[in-house]
Symmetry: C5
Subunit: 288 residues, 5 copies
């Protein structure tokens, strides 16, 4: 995620940051300029169509449907943003649960036991394992070595860590180091890890339905490609910047939505899961 000051207007307007849609779309801008110029030339200079041509009135399509395309793009924007924000909430919940688990275990376990040490290392491991799991890779070096725990990378890694933590807690309970009520009082945090993992997997694996994705792209394409046909008669060669600007606006919304709807990767707008994981490790170490 790019860290930024949302109040620095002029920086935003004139610089073209990594992740700026202007950069990504510029080849398309060139193509569309050529296309629009060609349409303008053919209609005005080659066929010398007059301004009362019926083709001029084709613009009614853009008037009638301009509203629908806007609504669709806002629907797209809302759903993509909701996923991004839901992903952020789940990582926030991971922070909260890691902290709460550390705070509770710290209150339950005597100082300087091996179990304290175990949880200090193992709880933050979950965040790192989940972060990498969501990016479909495994970085062993990011996990703290914990005695008695080995990862089988062919299996679901976060599940193994969660299962190991839970087995440790129940072992403490069987040894009566923690009571039944204390076991119940950490139940919420323990099951939250797996719930968060499942929710993030759901967000990553489920883009908006295929039909919408196709439909929006087709709609933008036909809308923009037919734009010069009618408007050439009213704006002449000015159609070139008009088409480019309209395309810039519509395509940008679709592009940004595509980028943020899976928020766990390495895109410019993705969530800072590396930083969050490191913070969990830091705060858990402070507490336990």
């Amino acid at each position: 995620m790019i860290d930024y000051n949302p109040k620095a207007w002029f920086t935003f307007i004139f610089r073209f940051h990594k992740g700026d849609t202007v950069r990504k779309l510029s080849p398309m801008f060139l193509g569309l300029s050529i296309y629009s110029a060609a349409v303008a030339y053919i209609e005005m200079d080659f066929f010398k169509l007059k301004a009362d041509s019926e083709l001029k009135n084709i613009v009614i399509v853009h008037t009638l449907l301009g509203f629908v395309i806007s609504m669709l793009l806002v629907f797209r924007t809302n759903t993509a943003y909701d996923r991004w924000w839901e992903g952020r909430k789940h990582w926030g919940a991971l922070v909260n649960n890691s902290r709460n688990l550390a705070i509770k275990l710290s209150a339950m376990l005597p100082a300087n036991t091996t179990s304290r040490e175990y949880f200090r290392l193992m709880v933050p491991n979950y965040a790192f394992a989940l972060k990498n799991h969501l990016r479909m890779n495994f970085i062993g070096g990011e996990l703290e070595t914990v005695p008695g725990f080995t990862v089988d990378t062919t299996k679901h890694v976060p599940n193994q860590i969660a299962a190991h933590i839970l087995a440790h807690i129940h072992e403490l309970y069987r040894q009566q180091q923690i009571s039944g009520e204390q076991l119940l009082s950490v139940n919420h945090e323990l099951q939250a890890f797996t719930d968060i993992c499942g929710a993030c997997e759901r967000i990553r694996n489920t883009p908006i339905p295929f039909s919408y994705s196709v439909f929006i792209k087709k709609f933008i394409f036909f809308y923009v490609m037919t734009l010069p046909l009618g408007y050439v008669f009213t704006v002449g060669y000015l159609i070139i910047p008009v088409v480019v600007f309209v395309f810039y606006v519509l395509a940008s919304l679709e592009l940004i939505a595509e980028e943020i709807e899976d928020p766990f990767g390495f895109d410019a707008n993705d969530l800072p899961t590396d930083t969050i994981s490191a913070n969990i490790r830091k705060h858990v170490a402070e507490i336990l």
Copy 2:
């Protein structure tokens, strides 16, 4: 569900996938083309109505109501998408609860007991039974055979599996193999199965209110059928692609909404419940 790369724009625009609304609507496109051509012929060439005909101004209806129809379609899209996404969330919760139950039972039960074996087979059976139940069928072969459990297919199958699992847990509790606090700590997961089943049944059995469904279809029909009456005067025979394109946009939104509002079937955009069920079986087996 179709797995796709949402960033492959050009593939989307020019190919006509299974489930693409262009394929489904193409017979209607033909019909509408003929109708529009007929209207254009009758008004312009047969009656030779002049451009100052009052019929030309009928287009005010489309201007005044174009906004309402767009809003309605977005309402339709939002509610259908919400069901689809809610269904996805419930199946995600099924994954989470199956995993959490396996993780907790793994921590409670000694290695190599028949109960571990029982839960390893029985918990994933719930997902398969639910998947088929939501499609109104029963596939015995997808359920693992579990000693002591027989299905009565004339009754509600998921309920039988949930009841059998719960009875097994309470039996372990009566035999003091798990304690009262341990019983409480799996209570959430156990009741979640039936809650998820009920929520999915609710989504499947309750389309949007009949009146909205009728009203939207009538509205689209009259909107599109009256479109050529007035616009013929401004665009001539170009009315044919205009009507077809407007109809394509409006009808596509309704069609996609119809398809995704019951997300548990076999439609192109439906949820991958087969894959999810298989994953539950795989992950539970890894843990227990």
Copy 3:
């Protein structure tokens, strides 16, 4: 609730079902036609106002406010639909809680006890009592006779059933037929009954604020009544179908919203609470 196939377009468009707004509004259509014809006659034939009359430009009101009225109707549609869907969710939760309670009690209680029999009869009684309570009536014949339970119809009926079930459970607990942890494990289901009842009462008793209801109706009325004043000059006697169609669209949305915002009655779009109650009885009997 009308059961229907949402994909049967042509049936929808040409048939006029019970609950179709066309049927309900047809007297108004007639009235508006006469009114519009009168306005057209007076302006065009009686006073022979010319097309450059200032009255013609009164249509700016409809342009400026057409958007506001659409937004308001969508707000109305959304809130009404949300109540309908929230009501459906509560009845879904009633199904889930009845099933879960039956599944849990089945696991706790020995076979063939009078308590099993008691819960098999009493739990579904709650759904039937609630259904009738929400319709402000009481149908004694729909409740199964349960030994030791008599209804006082002058008091809140669902509360009596819930209190009786809870008293039975606590009696079992005092007799140590169920343990403290088992008591806690059904706590959620037991309190859910009364929560659902209260939520449904809230939906039934609270229509949208009076001011909105009045405002929307006044707005639609003035919007439609002033429509012919200006548009007569552009469409002549075609104003009659135009006004009728615009009114049909605006009033339909308000009418449907009125119907579904209290979803527990006997309207065509109301929830199938009879069927749901019968299903609860059937499934609870299968389990217990």
Copy 4:
């Protein structure tokens, strides 16, 4: 809250109820009529500006921004309605929790004990105290006298009642009249009282951010005041009803939103907290 039949259209349209925005805004209507007439006179009759004056085209502002103002008013409407509905939900939850607490205590406590009497009086007191607390007053006469409980009106009254009820419950637990599990089973209801109180205080104390409130009012003011400047040229003295009607629509939405965003007072649309409190007392008395 005004109780009304949402289907009585004609009553709504022609009567001007208490709380109707037409009544509240009528002085403004007069002022705006004079203003518009003055603008019309000055532009048309005094300066005799011609219809091709550049001032005529100032209407582009209203076209460009008409959409923004509508969106803003819908945003305003949605947030105000959400508070009103959230307030209603909290009072519904108060009903549910009072009933559930009564039902559970009824099952736990033997008949005819002083504790039953205590809770029968004290639980409904909370609703009455909260109702008055939210209106910033205290009506001692509405609280039932409970032996051993005196209110200190200089302190937070609902908190005192909640604390007294909780102290009573824990006292019963210390005397072993209720068990630990029974204590836990009423924990949710007991903490819900204070959660509901805090949520209602939040709604009452937090109107939408000051900047939005100011901005919307300024925007409506400038939008309406500049309306006659340009439109006088097209509609002449008909500008007077046009401006009044546009103002009526825009200001009504803001007025209604202001009224319902704090739903606990005595405004026409406020929630019927008196009735709800009385119902809680009635139903709790039926149960306990």
Copy 5:
């Protein structure tokens, strides 16, 4: 947060409060006036372009995209408001949990113990520590001195307070001053502190995705800067107030959104966390 009477219309319209966007934007108003005047002079007086210039029709861009920009600003407004309101909800929950914890502990602990004293001082400390933590500073003087507790300002301060409170509770449990069920009954409140802290940190640290922030600013800039190019032909030098007003509206929405999306600072619209913290201290002292 500015405390205000939302019904005082005229005060709002004519005064320019601190935080009013008119004040913040006035330098930009001047710049835009000069720019618009320059464009008008160049087009009309220098080049003497005629009204049938193709440049005039460039306004189609503003018509086609006016809708998209409005939708985007409403999306922006909604998400910013949602954060502000979510932040307010979390602080409301902090109030509720502090009160509930005090009420429960008051019922559990005997009068005049050091533990009561401890919680009376320590629970409100959390609110003050969180308030300052969210503003990235630490004000030791606002924390009550509690025997046995020292803050390490290099570490996460709220976490230390939460951990200290939890350790104290578990110590009471080990000493059997509170029972296991009583420990469980305060579990929710204890973990809520850290959940609230994490949620507020999430809101503060996560503005809307960078790409949207950039895109909206670029879009407003180009939209406003191109506005005079075409509209000069229709409104002449009146373009100056038109451009300023359109910019005022669009930029105000973005400015207010920027201000409220991080609601924990010292901006005019930020939440009154100082007051809320003081209230928590007052109410907890009343109860314990």
